[in-house]
């Protein structure tokens, strides 16, 4: 039995704006085991992006506790804990004044672990993703798919044990998204990180994850946790398995007809 890598205990989040009070998250309890690949699925606005930002300590919860490797987040979270995580944004979020290489090396420089070896590592990763010739290009010169790939590399350069991915392939076309999904599974098979993958694409969630947290809005809450019973390694073939359709239907039932247009 694997140890618990990430734990969210009774998390609540309330956002107060000038006009209204938003009950973004209500009583969220999540447990992710070491080297597990889980997904959080739900309609827009259900708070899933808020959840992984709380895990990465970008947002503080209104109440409840966060545990990484059994260590609880205090008011100030130790840098070592944060360093265990890599965050991949929905929009690539590259710094426009740095080259591709500069962007990828950014975490190393912030953590103070940049060295000659890092240069080799960066080159290796760029090679793996087929981006070597764009090493010295600026983000404004790249396509959306390329910048997203750079974002993934940047999140992994410091070898984090946890990957937090906020709808990373949502802005890509379907073909590229499938390629990236398979590539991600490939990387995960090799590196065994603990992955929390957020998406509103049910097919993607079932393809990738071993467990799916299904969420709904108003207030943002977890409706059910689904175990996806397909062995790894997986490929696109499982999409036509009858079990796959069952899972799909189950999730659609849970989240309801209203949100069908947001679900692909």
């Amino acid at each position: 039995m694997n140890s618990t890598k990430i734990k969210l205990d009774k998390i609540n989040k309330i956002f107060k704006t000038r006009r209204q009070t938003i009950n973004a998250l209500s009583d969220i309890n999540i447990e992710v085991y070491d080297s597990e690949f889980i997904s959080i699925v739900g309609p827009s606005g259900c708070g899933k992006s808020t959840i992984i930002r709380i895990i990465n300590d970008i947002i503080k919860p209104t109440s409840g506790s966060v545990y990484i490797d059994g260590q609880q987040f205090g008011k100030k979270v130790s840098r070592d804990l944060i360093r265990k995580m890599g965050f991949i944004f929905q929009q690539p979020n590259l710094l426009p004044w740095l080259t591709v290489k500069g962007n990828i090396e950014l975490p190393l420089k912030i953590f103070g672990i940049y060295s000659k070896k890092s240069i080799e590592k960066t080159d290796q990763l760029l090679d793996m993703m087929g981006l070597n010739e764009y090493k010295n290009a600026y983000p404004s010169e790249l396509s959306g798919g390329m910048t997203q790939r750079v974002g993934v590399l940047r999140a992994m350069i410091h070898e984090p044990e946890i990957l937090l991915m906020d709808e990373p392939f949502g802005s890509l076309d379907e073909k590229l998204r499938e390629q990236m999904d398979i590539k991600l599974l490939d990387i995960w098979q090799k590196l065994h990180q603990t992955i929390v993958f957020i998406t509103h694409n049910i097919v993607e969630a079932i393809l990738l994850a071993s467990r799916i947290y299904v969420m709904n809005t108003n207030p943002g809450r977890i409706v059910e946790v689904i175990n996806v019973d397909f062995p790894y390694p997986r490929d696109m073939d499982i999409l036509i398995e009858p079990k796959f359709i069952e899972y799909q239907n189950k999730i659609v039932d849970l989240i309801g007809e209203l949100h069908l247009k947001e679900i692909k």
Binding site: R79, R83, Q91, N93, L95, I110, P139
Partner: protein, 251 residues
Amino acid sequence: MKVSKSNNILAPLIILAIIFGLMELIVRGLDLPKTVLPAPSQIIVALVTNFRVDIWPHLLWTLRIIGLGLLIGIPLGLLFAAVFSQFNILVSATTPLILILVTTPLITIVPLFMLWVGFNPGLRFIIVVIQVVPIVLLNTLTGFRKVQQKYLELARGYAASKFQTFIKITFPNALPQVFTGIKLGCIFSTIATISTEFVGGKVGLGYRVLYFSSMLETALVYAVIICIGATGFILYSIVNMLEKRIVTWIL
């Protein structure tokens, strides 16, 4: 994604030549007295003949003041902005004062200032600094405060310290705005320097304008004005060139 650049040296030169030619025709044709409006050719002749003795020493002097004002004013403006950006109270407290300093016409302050500081030309750069610092400060501060939320999230996600966030994100992000401030600083610096020379003293291009005016050497007046204009233009262009080298990510 580069839009084709037109040959931007040739076009202004052609315009300049056309204006030159037109002015020459008008002045000669209407036979205007040369104490009122000399022909461009006369201005050029006056400029070239008298440059070394009557203009160059003063040009150097004016340049010195402008340069000193910028060398002190720009770093000070940047420093203040860096400090202010950390304390919201400082910003709201001092912004009205800074705005007043910037918008009050310099010509009204300079005589007052000369009263306090005296006519010692060596101290004139202080007035220039007072004009340059607020404009650099205002623009830089705006640049520092307008950081996109997503970049700050990126920094927080790596537990970057306040200092790291400033050096790696806030400052580079603000560079375009910083350069705007510096360019404006150059303009203000030139105006301020010439203004001090107008008010008093016996050195500088501003003083020379008044001197030649009083002697009815109108061609030389225009010649000096051209020098002042050229100084401002060259300064601005240097900063522009620097900006293109440094701020490479904005096309």
